[in-house]
């Protein structure tokens, strides 16, 4: 088993094919994400950016290639992926809160089931995190009683409750009404400023410019260009990126 000690997350020639290679969602991704980096991934729909993000915690099983997380090859079948997923928080486009549990239940379920914290500790920690995102008074509410922006902030807290080493965001604001995008981005910015390692698939160019340390442009399952967000957005090199930016900016 090869061990890689360089970045927090390193992928080697990551490929994801569907229908025996007819569709190449990921076509050889090599990337290294270091601790403290905020990496924003942009690209047209169907470019593979979500597939890439979801393969980092093996929600998508890659067809070939390796993923190292904290030096361990998590694509190795012998690796217990559940142990590593605890350290990788994930936030989804559609929140995916558990509707049958209260906000408190959503946040404390995993820490309690993993016996990382006692019930009281988990509750205390949840209240502290809820306060941070300004939703302390919603602790006993159910997801159906919350707005989209509130749900997504709760989803972020739920991931943070596991005290992860990296946070993966899969289009976290795409399903929100425009007036709610700001409150979610605000929480994410705060996280970034605190030094959380983040990988974010998003269309929010403003957010990328402001907090990202690196921006990546993907198309057809490949990384076509990467740079600082300022450079990538104002001085694009690849014709596909130029075309993409002309459509979205």
């Amino acid at each position: 088993m090869s061990v890689n000690t360089k970045g927090l997350i390193v992928t080697e020639d990551l490929k994801k094919y569907y229908r025996n290679g007819e569709i190449k969602a990921l076509d050889g991704i090599n990337i290294e994400i270091d601790k403290g980096e905020v990496v924003v991934i942009v690209g047209p729909s169907g470019s593979g950016k979500s597939t890439f993000l979801r393969s980092l915690n093996l929600l998508e099983i890659p067809t070939s290639g390796k993923i190292f997380f904290e030096g361990v090859d998590i694509t190795d079948p012998k690796t217990d992926i559940n142990m590593h997923r605890r350290k990788m928080g994930m936030v989804f486009q559609h929140f995916n809160l558990f509707p049958h549990l209260s906000v408190m239940g959503n946040i404390t379920l995993a820490p309690i089931k993993h016996k990382i914290q006692s019930k009281d500790e988990a509750r205390e920690n949840a209240l502290r995190l809820l306060k941070r995102v300004g939703l302390l008074e919603k602790a006993e509410a159910y997801p159906s009683q919350l707005s989209g922006g509130q749900r997504q902030r709760i989803a972020i807290v739920r991931a943070l409750a596991m005290n992860p080493d990296v946070m993966l965001f899969d289009e976290p604001t795409s399903a929100l009404d425009p007036e709610m995008v700001g409150e979610v981005l605000e929480v994410m910015k705060e996280l970034a400023h605190e030094g959380m390692t983040m990988a974010v698939v998003t269309h929010e160019m403003g957010f990328a410019r402001e907090v990202a340390t690196r921006a990546i442009f993907m198309d057809e399952g490949r990384i076509l260009e990467q740079n600082t967000p300022q450079e990538l957005f104002s001085n694009p090199q690849h014709p596909r990126l130029k075309d993409f930016l002309s459509k979205v900016l």
């Binding site: 099983i61 079948p77 997923r85 989804f92 995916n96 049958h100 993993h114 991931a159």
Partner: protein, 244 residues
């Protein structure tokens, strides 16, 4: 008019009061309820297990095909067994299954009640399994992913996240199945169990009067079904209230 009520009273006394014939009714109700409730429990347990196996296999077919190994092979075999079970049970009449259970599988059984419980439980399990499978499949895949992304394993995700939501969603369909089961136990008489229907039949055999015992029989089943519906409805409202 007075004559009519006089007749009614006489028939009632003849069928239910004389020689304590009402005991056939109370004993019958007791047996019917025991068989039904035990069969419901067995059916739900079988149903959840079979549904979990089937939906696990179906959801992860692709991944398993690639991974291989003994565990995957075992799951494939168990999934196959579940499929055969569903086909056979749903493809043959309940009475036939009951007779086979009594006269072929448990030949040496002295008491028919446990045999009936097993037969009805196994039968009901097949229908409950499909109800639950539909319920599991209808849960948004994002719920699985959210559970797994928090490091919960497949089993924990099922128990803490999926099944509680499934139960809430399938309760109306499940109630239907329980009602059908309760009424189907009326064929218990085929294997010499004195359930409610058989009890009434015994009364008819002794009094040779038909209309009152049969109408009473129908009324008792109706009341039991209404009671069951009311109970499940109450449970449903309680489960739902936690969300609002």
């Amino acid at each position: 008019m007075g004559q009519f009520f006089e007749n009614l009273k006489d028939t009632f006394v003849l069928n239910f009061i004389q020689e304590d014939r009402w005991k056939f009714v109370t004993e019958g109700i007791k047996t019917t309820l025991i068989v039904t409730l035990c069969a419901i429990v067995i059916g739900v347990i079988i149903g959840i297990i079979v549904a979990s196996v089937r939906s696990t296999y179906e959801k992860n077919k692709e991944e398993y095909a690639k991974r291989g190994g003994f565990g995957v092979f075992l799951l494939k075999v168990v999934n196959g067994i579940c499929k055969v079970y569903l086909t056979v049970i749903r493809g043959t009449p309940m009475v036939v299954q009951l007779l086979i259970m009594y006269y072929v599988v448990f030949v040496s059984a002295k008491n028919g009640v446990p045999v009936a419980i097993a037969a009805f439980g196994i039968n009901s399990g097949a229908y409950v399994a499909e109800i639950f499978r539909g319920g599991i499949m209808s849960i948004d895949h994002g719920q699985f992913e959210a559970g797994r992304s928090l490091g919960l394993n497949y089993f924990q995700t099922m128990v803490h996240i999926i099944i509680p939501q499934v139960i809430k969603n399938v309760l109306p369909a499940l109630c239907n199945e329980f009602i059908a089961l309760l009424k189907e136990t009326s064929v218990c008489g085929y294997i010499a169990i004195q359930d409610l229907t058989k009890g009434i039949y015994i009364i008819i055999g002794r009094t040779y009067s038909y209309y009152m015992p049969l109408l009473v029989l129908a009324a008792i089943y109706l009341i039991m079904v209404m009671l069951l519906t009311w109970l499940v409805g109450k449970l449903e409202r309680r489960l739902r209230s936690s969300e609002r």
